[in-house]
Symmetry: C2
Subunit: 208 residues, 2 copies
């Protein structure tokens, strides 16, 4: 039954696809490796050959998602007179559009959102947390730049603006993913971002 390298890669890919499907439908906790194997048309032996255990399988599922190029965005923001708000709004919109069109991403993120992060999968959630921290710092720096450029409404601080943006996007995504995707996340997200960034730059009377 020895396969060629290319065939093995394909087997691995099949397992990942099956895991995505099974974990999404039954939940990571209640799906057995046998379930995944059956869905992939292999035995558990194949899975344990390609992956150390279930946590590793989930991790590789997560790793299979191409991540947006953040250094590229950072470079865009570096320019002296960069229009920070325009860049951030576009990046947010693009992220939502990516999510809206990539069904794999939808399922995998759903799996991660629903899975119990306290036990064996703590490594994954920690990594997400680290990423979140980096994003937060980058966002705050970007808004600080906008503030220096005099473009940030006085009622916002870089930190509060960054927090709000994060909360909205996170709330939007988790709501959409966990709740049956009952609305058009691309268009609703676009509107929300537009309104949010409008308030960042508006010279409205400061709150209260």
């Amino acid at each position: 039954m020895r396969r060629t390298k290319a065939e093995a890669k394909e087997t691995r890919q099949q397992i990942l696809l099956a895991a995505e499907k099974v974990f999404y439908e039954k939940g990571v906790a209640h799906a057995s490796m046998e379930d995944v194997a059956r869905a992939a048309g292999v035995t558990r032996g194949a899975i344990y050959w390609h992956f150390a255990n279930r946590a590793d399988l989930v991790l590789e599922l997560y790793n299979s998602l191409p991540m947006p190029q953040e250094d590229l965005i950072a470079r865009e923001l570096e320019a002296e007179n960069a229009d920070v708000f325009a860049v951030l709004e576009r990046v947010g919109r693009e992220w939502l559009e990516l999510l809206a069109t990539d069904e794999h991403r939808q399922r995998i993120l759903s799996i991660l959102l629903r899975c119990d992060t306290s036990g064996e999968f703590s490594a994954i959630s920690e990594r997400q947390n680290d990423l979140d921290d980096e994003h937060m710092q980058a966002l705050e720096a970007a808004f600080a730049k906008a503030e220096k450029q005099g473009k940030l409404c006085a009622c916002w601080t870089p930190r509060s603006a960054a927090s709000m943006l994060r909360w909205v996007i996170k709330g939007l995504c988790s709501e959409w993913l966990l709740f049956g995707r009952r609305f058009d996340i691309a268009s609703e997200g676009r509107d929300a971002l537009r309104r949010l960034f409008a308030t960042y730059s508006s010279h409205a009377p400061s709150a209260r």
Copy 2:
């Protein structure tokens, strides 16, 4: 070993307390009933006497949380010239303050946020979803009222305003709970709500 009714109630309470502690520390999926029993100072027999199974135990944990009186809020909003924004902002603030001071609520909501909702606990998450739906409708109606009163900035629709409010609060809470409560949710939430409601009422130029 037969206990009096009052003692039995107390045993039940002890079990709930222990479940809260153990599930919070180890996660619902990876904590055994034995773990909970040990922490409560009883055997699994006692747990299965008071609760049908683990899902029921979690459900009762959820039910043990006193829910804010929503009909009371609704009545406040009914008044012809009610200041919708003031009421909503206050309600949101009070909810965050309640969460900030009630450690049981923090732990139980954390448990629910982290637990896998796809399997045995689907009943709980469905109930939460139903509640969310009701909230959403109530919020939208409230913002519609504000719109009729001419208080809602033209760049917002009742629906978009309600959605945004929900996303912010949800993002805020889940971020705080899942991420080690690393900031002052009461004060940051208060600020965020203030800014958000300021943008609802501001007569800023419409977005773009």
